[in-house]
């Protein structure tokens, strides 16, 4: 499938390759909600001026926008992380009955290995569920070509197409050979074709679309048998043959260079005939798939003997070390190309430490909130209020569950803080009679899926104190714009939402909506205490931006006056990474009890003078650093 062109090769990530592929395919509309590892797809796409691109409010809306654009006759795609497709699936499962106008591609990135997600799931399931084809590239080059092939397949078979990526594709750079250096002139498009029976999914219409969908799936099944996307690669050692898709193909090639592999670029519907033929040429057939045994079950159901998850893990990446370990028994000698172990195992034992230095030896280094993050004050306060249950959500503020705050009790999925808080309120037992229920949610997550939950709280007379942490960006994924920032995907001025009005419209009484500066601890404490005592829902809105976006203005740093610092350690409870302990002491109090003291310092290179920590220091030991100003 190697193509040649006169253009300079690009060294780009899978995410950038998807954007390039879409552009070269003449895609006209693209929509996404940011989410690791898929975020950069839309960031790159937005740089192509010929493509209308947008940050949507959530993944369901992004798919709906792409559906509309497709029905209008344009090639369109939406991009999301795995959990996003759960949200968008409602639209998908009806869209599949309608078909497409212009090609329609759903790019979904599974966070295999959990780099930044609440779960690990296999989006290939949705292909089976919605009866639509699934394409699986293994690297940047294939992401680029398959994006174009996905549009063609979509139009040829009148179906949405799922293009499944994993973290190891999205965030790996490799060489891509582009084919064109200009946006293609679009072939005459039909425009929107009015056809109520096809496009209005009432029971009367849908009834007739279901058999149509199954016919399409049967045609796709035949196509899968002949598609060049499903092809033999690898070596000629017939003892074990592999069926694989996605980056697993490369992992096998790396681990067992002589093994033959049937690579499934079009993994659903699987080419069972091709698989059967391949099986006949090898002694043992092994299917290597990340994450669930989907192909394995289908191959077994077809009566073909295959090994899979009985050997391989059902979680995480199937990288070479995992494969070598898992398949050692099967691959015998070839299972040992791991030079270090094969050639000189004893020497290796003596010379090198075990691959990972254990936590017993070394501290962990979990992600932390940024220096001066506007969430720090909130969690400092929440940690100091007694008798609370705090329902959390997805964002940087999920880190509030960790040290030093330990001030977040649940985190489920986007927007869940609202409904879960209402449930915690309604379902409380006598044991929790006096518990104050808080819900913590960021601006972006609130607009994604939290607003409905708040309406549920007000409508159903729940009593929850909602903390709406408006940092004017999608902080977690790198500060993308949204209606809270008041800018669009290109950074141009756009609607800026008024959260006070929005919450009022959702039924919170205006007296119960409080706006606070999260760096002012006394105001914050007061708001939290007062509002949590109210017998009705309140919303406390914080109004300071994420420090990583350009709305944020750093101030001159602060410093600790050594002579004044008593070592009380209070400021450490803020959790600002700029504050570090320089010295510990153990003293004996008059009552004979031992007390640990921790004397601190502030890293002046890191501190942005947010003025939060001085509020925690009784002896006023934290003061402006003389003679330093920040531009």
């Amino acid at each position: 499938m190697e193509q040649h062109s006169h253009l300079e090769p690009l060294f780009i990530s899978g995410n950038a390759a998807i954007a390039r592929g879409a552009w070269e395919a003449g895609c006209r509309v693209a929509a996404a909600y940011p989410g690791t590892p898929s975020t950069e797809i839309m960031e790159y796409t937005s740089r192509y001026k010929e493509i209308y691109s947008e940050w949507s409010m959530n993944e369901k809306v992004s798919l709906e926008v792409a559906i509309g654009a497709s029905l209008a006759g344009s090639r369109a795609f939406c991009a999301m992380k795995h959990v996003g497709l759960n949200v968008a699936s409602d639209a998908l499962l009806s869209q599949t009955l309608i078909g497409v106008g212009g090609g329609l591609v759903i790019v979904v990135a599974d966070d295999v290995g959990l780099s930044s997600s609440q779960n690990e799931q296999d989006s290939r399931f949705w292909g089976r569920f919605a009866h639509v084809p699934v394409l699986e590239p293994c690297d940047s080059q294939e992401s680029f070509t398959m994006m174009q092939q996905a549009f063609e397949l979509s139009e040829a078979f009148n179906t949405p197409v799922i293009l499944r990526l994993t973290t190891r594709i999205c965030h790996v750079k490799g060489i891509v050979r582009p084919q064109r250096d200009s946006y293609p002139t679009v072939t005459p498009l039909t425009g929107f074709v009015k056809d109520v029976k096809q496009k209005v999914m009432t029971p009367a219409h849908a009834r007739f679309r279901i058999p149509w969908m199954f016919e399409r799936e049967a045609l796709l099944r035949d196509h899968s048998e002949v598609s060049e996307l499903n092809r033999l690669v690898g070596g000629d050692d017939r003892r074990v043959g592999f069926i694989a898709s996605g980056p697993a193909v490369l992992h096998i090639m790396e681990s067992f260079p002589d093994a033959p592999i049937l690579q499934l670029g079009l993994s659903y519907p699987p080419p069972l005939g091709k698989i059967r033929d391949f099986a006949a040429t090898v002694a043992t057939l092994v299917v290597v798939e990340e994450v669930e045994p989907l192909l394995e079950q289908e191959i077994k159901a077809a009566g073909i003997a295959v090994k899979g998850k009985e050997l391989l893990p059902r979680q995480g990446e199937l990288a070479p070390p995992v494969l070598r370990r898992a398949l050692r028994s099967l691959m015998g000698e070839v299972a040992m190309p791991d030079v270090a172990t094969a050639s000189a195992p004893v020497v290796r034992e003596q010379r090198v430490a075990p691959p990972v230095v254990s936590q017993a030896v070394l501290f962990p280094r979990p992600p932390t909130m940024c220096v001066a993050c506007p969430h720090l004050g909130i969690y400092y306060c929440l940690a100091h209020i007694r008798n609370t249950t705090i329902s959390g959500d997805i964002g940087c503020y999920t880190l509030g569950a960790g040290e030093p705050w330990n001030a977040l009790d649940t985190c489920i999925c986007m927007g869940a803080s609202m409904g879960v808080a209402l449930g915690l309120d309604k379902g409380r037992t006598a044991a929790d009679k006096d518990k104050k229920i808080f819900a913590v949610i960021g601006d972006s997550t609130f607009m994604h899926m939290g607003m409905q939950g708040l309406l549920d709280i007000t409508y159903n007379r729940g009593n929850v104190t909602v903390l709406l942490l408006d940092n004017r960006a999608v902080g977690m994924t790198g500060g993308q714009d949204n209606p809270a920032s008041g800018r669009d995907i290109h950074g141009q001025p756009a609607l800026q939402i008024d959260f006070r009005k929005l919450c009022e419209a959702l039924g919170v009484r205006s007296e119960r909506i409080v706006e606070v500066n999260p760096y002012e601890l006394p105001t914050l404490f007061k708001a939290l205490r007062d509002e949590s005592k109210q017998p009705e829902p309140s919303v406390i809105i914080t109004n300071q931006p994420c420090v990583l976006i350009d709305h944020y203005g750093p101030k001159p740093p602060l410093t600790v006056v050594d002579e004044k610092c008593t070592g009380c350690g209070n400021c450490l409870d803020v959790g600002c990474p700029a504050i570090a302990v320089v010295r510990r002491e153990t003293v004996t109090k008059p009552n004979g009890q031992e007390k640990q003291l921790a004397f601190v310092t502030i890293d002046s290179q890191a501190c942005t003078g947010c003025d939060l920590c001085p509020g925690t220091c009784a002896p006023d030991a934290i003061v402006p650093l003389q003679g330093v100003s920040r531009g």
Partner: protein
């Protein structure tokens, strides 16, 4: 061009410039005509967590991740991180380590201890360590962000392509974006190169 794939593991903490360093190595290898893959296991990189980046180059690179125990060179921006990842080195591999420690909040909070002598510990495992006061050198030049370029200068001794090419890749990045920093980076690269040689 050698047939074997060369594996370089760059490790550090979010915000230290790990990704930029690995990008420079990758671009240099590309210029030398190699196939290159570079992965970025960043997680929530902007927030002080561990960052690792794998760069692999050779005639043809398949899997993007360096197999455990097969790194030829570790470029560590922080000594405890060097200790954390040193087991990834192949026998005979080299660790280039910035000696400036950076303790995370969990250490400040007293939940964990910072190792007394991480570099010594790595050495005691029979690993060849090059210790480099990169942060200090960078500060001496007036900007702690130069750490990156200092480290790259130091590792230029251990790579098969010419230091000139790598230097060019770095300077080009600044010529485009921040021309004022070109001279400083030139000095940082030279300083790194000089100290990287001396053991």
């Amino acid at each position: 061009m050698v047939d074997k794939v060369t594996n370089i593991l760059v490790v550090g903490i979010g915000g230290q410039g790990v990704m930029t360093a690995s990008e420079v190595i990758a671009q240099t290898a590309l210029r030398a005509g190699y196939d290159v893959k570079k992965t970025e296991v960043a997680g929530m990189a902007q927030r002080g967590g561990v960052v690792t980046s794998h760069v692999r180059f050779g005639k043809r690179v398949l899997s993007p991740a360096i197999p455990a125990g097969e790194a030829d060179l570790i470029v560590a921006f922080e000594p405890a991180e060097a200790l954390r990842w040193c087991g990834e080195l192949r026998p005979g591999g080299v660790a280039m380590v910035n000696s400036e420690p950076q303790a995370p909040p969990v250490v400040s909070l007293g939940l964990y201890d910072y190792p007394a002598d991480p570099i010594g510990e790595i050495r005691s495992r029979g690993i060849q360590v090059q210790r480099l006061a990169a942060t200090e050198i960078a500060r001496g030049l007036g900007n702690f962000r130069l750490v990156n370029t200092v480290m790259l200068g130091a590792i230029s001794h251990y790579l098969e392509f010419s230091a000139e090419v790598m230097r060019e890749v770095i300077l080009e990045r600044f010529r485009e974006r921040k021309p004022k920093l070109v001279a400083l980076n030139e000095a940082a690269f030279a300083a790194g190169r000089e100290r990287g040689m001396a053991s």
